[in-house]
Symmetry: C2
Subunit: 429 residues, 2 copies
């Protein structure tokens, strides 16, 4: 049978590991694909760097853009990254010249997924992006193919390993966020500029992709509600433990009367649930379907090996002629984006205020919640420190995002409330 | 595009739910498959039974065997069950007449998988059996496609919901096996004849299938080492808790020097691991790959909805022309079965003896282990009951299955040892 000829653009850790597997396990892959798999060409900025893989016999190309036009390549692996520029051009040019594409680029799919999907349909080529969400966990495949017989009602997960690592270490050691982040940077678990991870952007890219597949709408990254983990304090983690919860940065997409809720923010989840047990850099995604009920997929969400594993899986599907519409449906059949505003959310909340320890403060605070019809379920004010700042923690019964917001605005005006009040949504899955 | 025409043989709870989804969600499924999905014909023994699904307009066939020859059907869903007889004939006849087949029949694939795979290749048709292993969890897809770029080093899991339910309830309530089994039967979680489940046969069918895919060998059910959960006592569960373990019936397939270990037996797994946290009727499968590391898939392993979810996923793949070799490789490329004998196993063991509470017993018992070079890691003899039976629990360092077996034979000859000694293997994944 004709070989399936692959080119890699971008030889960072993922690209190098993908090249290594393609060159080392050629025989295994070819047997499994039912045809030879060949690495034809690679492209990266620095030819001299030692990447631990012998690229002899593989064509080296200085300009990645030229890969799109080569007639000896069937599939381009875009492992450069970034939602615009070289990566964007290479993917669209490759598709337009009739090549299938595999990418690990979540930002690209989150921002330009609809346009790329349409181009793939027009040019009758396949697009693989398993590596873009949750690394080595085959969640795109599970959701788009494995659960294809289900109406998905909700999909949520721990989509960013950096944040989960930080939350885990903060819980185990009691150390503050900045301190643990600095450690994570030293260990290579967080970037020098950590904002993509810790501010939730990376998780939001992935959530936008999962939501589009789960609910059959055009990808709508711009309307994902995003909060990161910078404001989670050791105090919050201690109180969460006491209440039986763990704090996780979750991405959640679910049907609601107001549209599809798409949100990324710290959550309190029960400590003894499968999702509550996911620690360190691991990712996990829960999908709830009409027929299947609750499923969970767990594994490493980043790193050279897991990401390369997902890239290769996509290559193999394309080599064997297995194609699936990008978002599970022909793009003409996707519904318009219908993301619900965060203001429409209802749920239970954990609230933390720093207040002056003084008689009457509790009455003032609870009056505010009463006025906004926020029903308090429990209250903890353990520390005593007369006339000084102490934490006051409350959990609510089901209430609305707007009521919490309005309460916080009023609380901020009280003299006895010393810092901006903080909330963490409680998700009792 | 041409419709994809489906026939269902067997309208038990799974068949009826599959028919219901095909008839109710026709539009969704057709959009996702890119072509109309049509339920053409059904077959079951009793036409009069109310199955909660309106089969008007669907051809009713009394003899399932005739489905194989129909020229208005593209795919036969075998949901009858049993490794021989009607199911076996229907699957092979359908394949030989050029139809693709979807089955939930683990016994059939475990016993006749190689023959069926060969027939599919000769007739260029696809076979789906996602529902045969772990119900709604898309583990066949994950292993065969999602992890295709990996050398799998080990795959293991909780593959039988009935046993996991019984172990969970025994732990929560302290009640004995027989008692909990009777409850499970009343609740419909266990069959009237429970031996398929509680003696490990069902899990062994599934493990044999997973092992063949993971390691690329011909399916070899006959050589799977199988022990069930009947001998697990409340005492064992209490000691497991004390030692930080949970007792789970696991199926484990892993590469070893002596070949592929394939075994189903109760295991002690750490309570705080993802697999240790799987409770009730849920299933979970861990796959360890060279690139991806550890992955886990969790969900419902049985029931009408989850099983139908898996059946429909297979139908959709076949409708869209997505095909994968039955065991991940053309059957000519599968290696012969190379199952390691259980005697070649090494590991750590939990051992429980019932001994007379009398001075000198411990010296007698430990002398036996010393003579067989079994190194004891810990010992618990908490209860005191002079001259009566008390449990004596030991855990070992790494030792061999043969040393344990030889020790047990000698222990059984000691007067102070009152019952057959019991062992549960400790798996520190």
């Amino acid at each position: 049978m004709q070989p399936f000829r692959v080119a890699i653009a971008g030889l960072g850790t993922v690209g190098a590991e993908t090249a290594r597997i393609l060159l080392t396990d050629t025989e295994m892959l070819s047997a499994r694909a039912g045809r030879p798999i060949e690495l034809k060409a690679v492209s990266a900025r620095d030819k001299t760097r030692d990447r631990g893989v012998d690229l002899d016999g593989v064509d080296w190309v200085d300009d990645a853009a030229t890969l799109a036009a080569r007639d000896d390549v069937d599939c381009v692996l875009e492992l450069i990254g970034g939602s615009e520029g070289v990566a964007y051009d290479l993917v669209l040019d490759s598709v337009k010249s009739g090549k299938s594409v595999v990418t690990a680029n979540k930002a690209l799919i989150a921002h330009h997924g609809s346009e790329i999907a349409k181009a793939c349909e027009e040019n009758k080529v396949g697009l693989g992006f398993e590596a873009a969400v949750a690394g080595g966990i085959p969640i795109i495949k599970s959701l788009r193919e494995g659960l294809v017989g289900n109406h998905v009602t909700r999909v949520y997960g721990i989509l960013n390993g950096t944040c989960n690592y930080i939350m885990s270490v903060m819980r185990e050691t009691g150390r503050p966020f900045d301190d643990v982040l600095a450690d994570a940077q030293r260990l290579g678990y967080a970037e020098a500029d950590p904002s993509f991870d810790v501010d939730g952007i990376d998780a939001a890219h992935k959530l936008a992709i999962l939501s589009a597949i789960a609910f059959g709408h055009h990808v709508d990254f711009d309307n994902v509600h995003v909060e990161g983990v910078r404001h989670v304090s050791p105090l919050d983690i201690t109180f969460a433990e006491e209440l039986g919860y763990r704090i996780k940065l979750l991405g959640i997409a679910e049907e609601s009367d107001a549209g599809v809720q798409q949100r990324v923010h710290p959550c309190m989840v029960k400590a003894d649930t499968p999702i509550g047990q996911v620690e360190d850099v691991f990712n996990a995604v829960v999908a709830e379907g009409s027929a299947v009920g609750t499923t969970l997929s767990y594994g490493r969400g980043a790193g050279a090996g897991p990401t390369a594993s997902a890239v290769i899986a996509d290559v193999m599907d394309l080599a064997a002629g297995r194609r699936v519409p990008v978002f599970g449906l022909d793009s003409s059949k996707l519904s318009p984006a219908r993301t619900a505003p965060i203001a429409s959310l209802t749920g239970c909340y954990y609230l933390r205020l720093m207040v002056i320890d003084r008689p009457g403060v509790l009455a003032d605070v609870t009056a505010v919640f009463r006025d906004h019809e926020v029903s308090i379920e429990a209250m903890i004010q353990r520390a005593r420190n007369p006339e000084e700042a102490v934490p006051l923690v409350l959990t609510t019964h089901e209430t609305s995002e707007t009521a919490i917001k309005a309460s916080f605005e009023e609380l901020a005006r009280l003299d006895c409330v010393l810092e901006e009040p903080r909330q963490i949504r409680i998700e009792d899955f």
